[in-house]
């Protein structure tokens, strides 16, 4: 029981350190001279990595039944993807303004 408890604490500390390291990478990245699109892509990739860690370990989704995960994640991902429909219009507005 006690070693199980230590193992969990070590896991949480590892995840927390991982999240901090990813954050430092993001901050360092922000000071590099890259195009905004590339920067956004890299930052979002790192953020999705952090999201995965938080969902899986802090929110325990890794230890839940697959039916719960499959109920939550794909529906939200689909709805978020549908919201991207506004971006072509953003580019159209930019064209007008330039």
């Amino acid at each position: 029981m006690s070693s199980d408890h230590d193992n969990h604490n070590r896991l949480y500390l590892t995840v927390w350190s991982g999240l901090l390291i990813l954050t430092v990478v993001e901050v360092v990245l922000a000071y590099q001279t890259l195009s905004v699109a590339l920067m956004l892509g890299l930052l979002l990739m790192l953020s999705f990595g952090k999201t995965g860690l938080i969902l899986a370990y802090f929110m325990h989704l890794r230890y839940e039944r697959l039916s719960l995960v499959l109920t939550i994640i794909p529906a939200v991902a689909f709805c978020i993807a549908m919201m991207f429909i506004v971006f072509p219009d953003g580019l159209r507005l930019l064209d007008f303004r330039q």
Binding site: T23, L43, T51, Y57, M83, D89
Partner: protein
């Protein structure tokens, strides 16, 4: 015989008492978090939309702002760590430890709020409002204050929620599961900041 028949029919998708293997409280929180995810996504998308449609987006965040925002990220990440510790202690029925970890979590949240309000006041002092700012694109203030304001509302609500649960758990009125469900909410608030921090701050830093 009847028992055997019902056993063979049980599957993850078969309905029954608990198809997801979680209690209704936890499932309810997950449903709320799903809808809240979409609310925050809508704000982030709105921010990205107006930024994409603007020729020159303001970049008001200097080295100090980025540093403070990084410290705020550290506050939230660390409070998430203390929250999982609280959940683990609650599951072992260690009431005192649970309350101590939860108070630490609340401390992280309060520190985040103080730093964030301080940053808001600095920006307001520079002349940024939801309707105007010195750098030209008025929608900068509107999108910035609605997005970070909604997030700060969640942090404030979370601090109150955690305080109630910690107090109730200390008194023996709440169960370990209530601590876990409040933890889910707190991690979500942390998770949302993992997108606001890079998209709003890091992408608008002064180079």
């Amino acid at each position: 015989m009847a028992e055997m028949a019902s056993e063979t029919r049980v599957s993850a998708w078969g309905g029954g008492g608990s198809p997801f293997g979680v209690s209704s409280k936890k499932f309810g929180m997950w449903l709320f978090l799903m809808s809240d995810t979409l609310t925050f996504t809508a704000f982030l998308i709105a921010y990205s939309y107006v930024r994409l449609a603007s020729v020159e987006w303001p970049r008001p965040f200097g080295g100090m702002s980025i540093f403070m925002a990084s410290v705020m990220t550290l506050c939230l990440l660390s409070s998430s760590l203390t929250m999982v510790m609280a959940v683990a202690a609650a599951k072992r029925q260690q009431i005192r430890q649970t309350v101590v970890w939860m108070v630490a979590t609340i401390g992280g949240g309060v520190l985040f709020m103080i730093l964030h309000i301080n940053e808001w006041l600095t920006l307001i002092h520079e002349g940024v409002t939801p309707f105007a700012n010195p750098w030209g694109v008025p929608l900068f203030g509107a999108s910035f204050f609605t997005l970070t304001g909604l997030h700060m509302t969640h942090v404030t609500g979370g601090v109150i929620y955690l305080a109630i649960v910690a107090f109730g758990f200390g008194k023996g009125k709440f169960e370990a599961e209530d601590v876990e469900v409040s933890g889910l909410y707190w991690h979500f608030v942390d998770l949302v900041w993992m997108f606001i921090f890079p998209m709003v701050y890091l992408l608008s830093n002064q180079m």
